[in-house]
């Protein structure tokens, strides 16, 4: 593992019971690199990034991150290791997952106070600063229910950043949002990328992936179909599976016509 590799997955494999989620996923993420993982649903993208902060254990392979080495299998890492990883890896979820019974401010300072034992004034000051960056300082005393989806997701981003993580994971951060709210969240993520944050994001926003990501990984059928520099993978994919997926995403209408033509002929696929 070279010095600036922050996350390195080697042959990662995950099953739920006998159901294969993904297998043999290998990926190196360098400091300040932005990796976008795209692919059809059910390919195991979300589960894969959940394995990085060990929200899910994995079954096979090795994961090196932030100086820790985790092996797949039954033995789960010690509590101290888990805590260290989770304090240094931030995560933003598809469904925001803000704590509904806590105000915006309380959501953001909870973990810094409780896990990192940051003094309260410092935690509050950082939270204000982060909220200010996403234009939500004035909503700090509101409950999440009162915020729009886009606002909630920006607060969730602040909550993760308040731990001052070294790596950020994004699990489809905009797919639950109304189309007109997507932009505000994406621009906050983009700004973070520009500041040099190391990020792994699962997304369906192709344009965003092309503009922000350094590397794109296409996962399909439970494995990595293709991986490489963002533009290269998205504009001239080499593997047939990647080409097929991108065709469906980038030209959905045409693909629909193909499908209905096939259906007209009694095709099942």
């Amino acid at each position: 593992m070279s010095n600036d590799v922050v996350v390195s997955a080697q042959g990662l494999t995950k099953r739920f019971g006998s159901q294969l989620v993904f297998e043999d996923v290998s990926l190196d993420v360098h400091k300040s690199e932005v990796v976008a993982i795209i692919g059809p649903s059910g390919a195991g993208k979300s589960t894969f990034i959940r394995c990085i902060n060990h929200l899910h254990p994995f079954d096979g392979g090795t994961l090196e991150l932030l100086g820790h080495t985790l092996h797949g299998g039954l033995k789960s890492p010690s509590r101290a290791v888990l805590r260290d990883i989770r304090t240094r890896v931030g995560m933003v979820f598809q469904t925001f997952n803000l704590f509904p019974h806590l105000t915006v401010m309380e959501n953001i300072i909870l973990a810094p106070l409780d896990v990192k034992k940051v003094p309260r004034e410092k935690a509050v000051a950082l939270a204000r600063e982060l909220l200010d960056l996403v234009g939500l300082e004035h909503k700090k005393d509101m409950y999440p229910k009162r915020l729009s989806g886009g606002e909630q997701q920006r607060v969730a981003l602040c909550r993760a950043l308040a731990m001052e993580p070294e790596v950020m994971l994004f699990d489809e951060p905009t797919s639950m949002l109304d189309p007109e709210l997507v932009g505000e969240v994406l621009s906050a993520i983009q700004r973070l990328a520009k500041q040099g944050m190391t990020m792994i994001l699962v997304t369906h926003e192709m344009t965003f992936a092309k503009e922000v990501a350094d590397t794109v990984v296409i996962m399909a059928d439970h494995r990595v179909a293709e991986m490489g520099p963002a533009r290269q993978v998205l504009e001239s994919p080499q593997t047939e599976r990647a080409q097929q997926f991108l065709r469906r995403v980038l030209e959905p209408v045409e693909t629909m016509e193909e499908l209905s033509a096939a259906a007209g002929q009694g095709g099942e696929d």
Partner: protein, 214 residues
């Protein structure tokens, strides 16, 4: 009716006893119930199994049989309780059986995403339970908990059968002495209604406060 008025004093004393017993047994059942619910959900296999059997036992046996076995049955093998001790133990044992299930369903009703978000922030499982899961579970649990406390209050009417001198006991004595079954029982009924009304109002207040964020 005039005769019945002589009983207001002893009724009030009896009612206070019932109410006190309900409050104390509720507090104890809740504390043990939370622990048992967490054990039932996250404990080792054996603990989970034992607690689920316990719930079946308490739920399956008529309340009065539990009381009689505890007080009269155990007496036969040399374990003797005072009526007050038996009453308290019975109410707590019974209460825990119900509280476990109420807490368990409340805890399970909290969305999985909340646990994931807490874990991703590095919060310990204890903190997650105390600061994230439990406050949200409480909103779902308060209505059944309120009904449960009222049920416990009503269970105290059975205690006169082991000679615990509560309101029901006084009513029975009064009826035997005066033959005024109508007024005396109605007075007892009113006393119970007032007490359950108070419990209901407290429950509603707590619900409103717990759900303020919604």
């Amino acid at each position: 009716m005039g005769v019945a008025m002589h009983y207001v004093g002893v009724y009030a004393a009896g009612a206070l006893k019932d109410f006190g017993l309900t409050v104390v047994s509720t507090v104890l059942s809740m504390i043990l119930g939370v622990l048992a619910a967490v054990g039932r959900l996250y404990g080792p296999r054996l603990i989970r199994l034992l607690i689920s059997w316990y719930v079946e036992l308490i739920r399956g046996l008529p309340a009065i049989l539990q009381l009689f076995i505890l007080y009269f049955g155990l007496n036969q093998v040399g374990i003797t309780f005072s009526p007050l001790a038996a009453a308290l133990i019975w109410l707590v044992l019974y209460g825990v059986g119900y509280a476990v299930e109420i807490f368990r369903s409340g805890i399970m009703a909290v969305a999985q995403g909340q646990r994931e978000a807490a874990a991703a922030l590095g919060l310990s499982s204890g903190t997650t339970m105390r600061k994230i899961i439990f406050p949200q579970a409480l909103v779902a649990m308060l209505p059944p908990l309120t009904s449960f406390v009222v049920l416990q209050l009503k269970n105290t009417t059975m205690l006169y059968l082991i000679g615990y001198a509560d309101i029901m006991y006084e009513a029975r004595l009064g009826v035997d002495a005066t033959n005024q079954a109508g007024p005396l029982y109605v007075m007892a009924a009113i006393a119970y209604l007032i007490m359950s009304f108070i419990i209901g109002r407290i429950g509603m207040r707590m619900e409103r406060r717990a759900a303020a964020y919604r």
